[in-house]
Structures are given as C-alpha cells and as structure tokens.
C-alpha cells in the first residue's frame, strides 16, 4: 500500500510546489501594485507631518515630526479652512438628503405608477444621460446667477443643479421594478393609498439601494470641483476641493501646508470608504451592469 501511495504523494507535492511558487509570485505582484496605489497617500501623510526643512528630502520617516503644517494652514486668516470643511459637509449632506427624497419618489413613480406621458418623460430623462456635462456649465451659471432665491456664492446654487441628475432616478426605478408587486397589491387591497403604499411598503424594502445611492451622492458632492469652483468665488463659501485649489495657487511652495490640506480633504472620504468599502464597491459594480 505504502509503495502505491508514494507516486501519488509526489505528484501532489510537485503540484503544491508549483502552486506555492505561483502563489508567491502572485503576492509579490499584488504587493507591488498595492504599493503603487498606497505610496502617494503615504507620501502625502509623510510630507504633511514634516517640518519645512525636510519637505524636499526623500526620507520616508520624518526626523522631526510636527503638526505645524496643520496649525499654519488652519490659522491662516486668508484661508478659512474650517469654513471649507463645514461647507463641504453641509453641501454634501443636503445634496444627499434631497437627492434621496426626490429620486426615490420619482423612481417609484416611473417604476410603478401609471400616468399619461410617463414613457415620454422617462425617455427624455434617459436622453440627457448621454449629454456631456460641459454644455450645461454656462447656461446653468447664468440661471443660478439670475434666478430669484439663488445667486452666486449660495449653497442652493451649488446643490440645485445636481438634483436634476438622472442617475438616481434611474437607479431607484430599477430597484422598485425588481421588488414583487404582491406586497403593494396587498396594501392597496387593505385600503392604503399610493403614498401610504410607497412609504410603508416599498420604501422600507429599498433601504439597501437607498444607502448605496446615498454613498455615491455624498462622495460625488464632496469631491465635485468644477461647478463649485464656478459658483463659489467667495473664500468663505468655498468647499474643500475649491479651497485647496486656491491654497495651491496662493502658496505654491508651501508643500507641507498643501499636503496637510489634501489630508484634511481626503480623510473624511477615506474613512467613509474604509467603513463602507463593500457597499461602495458593490454599488459601482451594479452601475456597470446597468450600463
């Protein structure tokens, strides 16, 4: 028996040996690629923690680590970084809440309710998906500049054009089309109206989709650059990305301060990403399959 078993054993170890080598090569490759993605973030952190004398030196561990870059940045009266942080949080939070509210209702109507003009309207919505955002910049700028209740340097002007977006409506419609109709029918038979059925039956089922849409909207709003750059010329009203660009334009050689600013902008979204990574990745995969 033992002699019979031996060749089989040898084959197994050989396979395992080849497999181990492949595995080592795989992990080496994965670590190299990970380094490519992580090094810029590490270098940002290292620079932000270095005193000025060390900025241009390629040492990866600060010899005299310091928070002076952050202090200088946060105490600069010309650059109201605390206001930028507050503005960014406020704009992203309001944009997310409003997007969820209006896109959920619209998505539900386009998925489930029947009304004259529905298909034409939805076709119109879809048609704008292929249009590049740049053609809306000039006219929307003039619209918010002149519209009563809006105006330049206002939060509503930064937020409102994003609420026109079609992606969220499309996304929620796809979700509502996928849930079984029987639950809503049962609610109607029990005498519930359209709103009650939507609010009590359909909406609770959509919580996972809602959170996906919330994450995508928050990230997009937090990271947006060109539109807030146009609308928020007043430093007190800027969001972090716009303020960062201003900072870089004003203090071109303050590498430590600029990296500290980049860190302040990156940390909230990277934290969000670390916590919600699985959902974010799943949501992106979903948007791909939709296309």
């Amino acid at each position: 028996m033992a002699t019979v078993a031996r060749p089989a054993e040898r084959v197994q170890t050989q396979e395992a040996g080849g497999g181990t080598l492949m595995r080592v090569a795989l992990y080496v490759l994965l670590f190299l690629i990970s380094a490519f993605f992580l090094i810029p973030l590490i270098w940002m952190t290292v620079t932000a923690l270095k005193p000025q004398a060390e900025w241009i030196h390629p040492n990866w561990i600060p010899q005299n680590p310091t928070l002076s870059n952050f202090q200088r940045l946060l105490n600069n009266p010309a650059l109201p970084v605390f206001l930028w942080i507050r503005n960014s949080f406020f704009v992203a939070a309001i944009a997310t809440i409003l997007t969820l509210a209006i896109d959920t209702m619209a998505g539900y109507a386009y998925a489930r309710l029947h009304f004259p003009g529905r298909n034409i309207l939805f076709g119109l919505l879809l048609a704008t998906l292929v249009m590049p955002g740049v053609i809306f910049l000039v006219p929307n700028y003039l619209t918010v500049a002149n519209l009563p209740g809006f105006g330049l340097n206002t939060y509503q002007s930064v937020i409102a054009p994003g609420l026109a977006g079609v992606f969220g409506v499309f996304f929620m419609r796809q979700f509502f089309q996928g849930i079984p109709k029987e639950l809503e029918e049962a609610a109607y038979i029990d005498g519930a109206g359209t709103w009650t059925t939507f609010w009590r039956v359909a909406l609770p089922l959509s919580l996972p989709s809602l959170s996906t849409l919330a994450i995508i909207t928050f990230l997009a709003s937090w990271n947006d650059f060109l539109w807030p750059l146009l609308v928020m010329g007043n430093p007190d009203r800027m969001t972090l990305p716009v303020g960062l660009a201003l900072l870089q334009g004003q203090a071109v050689y303050d590498f430590g301060g600029i990296m500290a600013g980049a860190m302040i902008t990156a940390i909230p979204v990277l934290t969000l990403y670390l916590i919600l990574q699985r959902y974010i990745i799943a949501s992106v995969a979903m948007t791909g399959l939709k296309g």
């Binding site: 810029p40 241009i56 009304f115 704008t128 590049p132 000039v138 029918e185 979204v269």
Partner: protein, 314 residues
Amino acid sequence: MASVTQRAQTDAAAVPSAGVGRRFDIMPYLFILPHLIFFVLFLLWPLLYGIYISLFEFDFNNPAFRPFVGIGNYRNLADPNSLEFDAYWNSMKNTLIFVVISTIPMVLSALLLAVLLNGKYRFRNVFRGIFFAPWSLSAVVAALLGWWIFNDQAGIMNGFLDRVGLGTVAWLGAQPGAWIAIVVVTLWWTVGFNTIIYLAALQDIPESLYEAASLDGANLWHKFRYITVPMVAPVTVFIVTIQLIASFQLFAQPQIMTRGGPAESTKPVIMQIYQEGFGAYRMGSAAAMSIVLGIILLIITTLNFRIFGRSEER
C-alpha cells in the same frame, strides 16, 4: 370619493397595462414633480438657453452690451484667422491626445487588475479595497498628490531617479513628462472604477468554460485571449464609452498640475471653455465652444457604439 380614487389605484397596481378609461389621478405627477422641476430647470432648459446664449456676444459683467451675433461665435471657431480658432482647436487637439494616450492604458490595466483580483486567494478583498481606494478621493486631491510627487525640483519622483543615478526629468515643465504625469495620476485615481466593473463581468463567466479549456490543454494566455476577452467584450464597449466621456472632461489634473503648460500643451478644451467664459467673461463664445464639444463627443460615442457594438455581434 376617496374610495373611488383608491379603487382606481388598486386597478393600477393590479393591472399594469390598463391605462384607459380611468379617472385622472394627480398622485403620480406629485411623485415626479420635485425631480422634474430641477430636471427642467437645470438639464432641459439649459439646452435651449445655451444655444440662445451662443448667438450673442454675452459679457456677464456688461448687461448693457450684448449684441446678437447670430452664428458669429460658431463662425469664429471655423475661421482660421479668428482669435478663438487656434486656442480652441489647440485645446481640442490636446484633449484628443489625452483621450488617445489614456484610454488604452486605463481599459487594459483595469482588465488585467480585474483578472488578478478574480483568483481565489486570501486577502483578495483587502487588495481589491486598496486598488479602488483612490477613486473615493476628489480629483483635486489626486492632482495635488501628482503635482507634489512629479514636482520638477522637489518631487520624490526626481529625488528617487536622482538617487539611483538616472538623473532628473522635467516632468511637469516639459513634454512628454507632463502628459505622462497626468496620465499616471488619472490612472492611479480612477482605474479602480473600471476594474470593479470588469470584476463583476468576470464573475459572470461560467467556470465550466475554463475547465473545458484546461482539458483541451489551453494555457493561461489562451484562456485569457479566447475566453476572458470575448466574454467581457460588451462590458469593454461600455467601459471604453464612459472612459471616452470621462477623458474628454479632463480639467482638474492639468489645472492643478501644469496650469495647462508647458506652452499650453496640456490645456484641455474644458479649461479653454472655463477661461473663455469665466476668465474673459465671453460667455456667448464659451457656450458655442461647449456646444461644438458636445456634438463632437456625441459623434465619437455613437461611432464607438456603432463600430465596437457591431463587431461584438459577430
């Protein structure tokens, strides 16, 4: 009264196709109204308003002087002797250069990363999380990191090259360094997005195809070339399309890293429109430039679907 309305709604839910002979119900319109208001105001109206503005010499700061110029702004873009012609088409050329040199690396490396992530091994999700992390950052942060790393004098890239004896390179101050830096930063920032979409597509390929190929003696390359690539072809068309659109909108990276230089060689068309409309306040001309760009982009994405969408049907 209420019960009649409810009955009508019951029918609507129970019989999806029954659209005739029912009472008019305002409720569905109330559901879509909040979105529709913003949609009309900021996506539908600006299409018309943009065309309207493009027919005027439209200075934002000078409401008293806004003469109607007809197709004058468009004629300027077609007239080689106009002031706008060179600036606009130079920026368009720069954008096309970026589209061409960025699309292939962005799509190909995404596919390779996805294949790598599709294996079965430990910590796979950790690596996936690392590759995708930069996507969550603002373009401004990504561009600032690139600007600092590729800084000609003080950047770590030149510090490293100098140390290993390769000498320094003028990354942001000369070509092709500036384009290389911008493409690398863009790849670093967004390749994770394409990778995740490819990964989802790879997970839909039946394992049995690869097993059958193994039995026939196919090696890794054969499996990649004759199973993976054809199976993800529809997703490739989708990724190439969104990549084209995204690359055409290039703005933050050159704005932060090179200011469009050296010698305006990385100034993309969005930066040109931005400067025309919001630097020089010539908004009629900027609107015309945007519309021409929009039309070019529509033609390219349509062609992409026609050509690749068709070849994939064969």
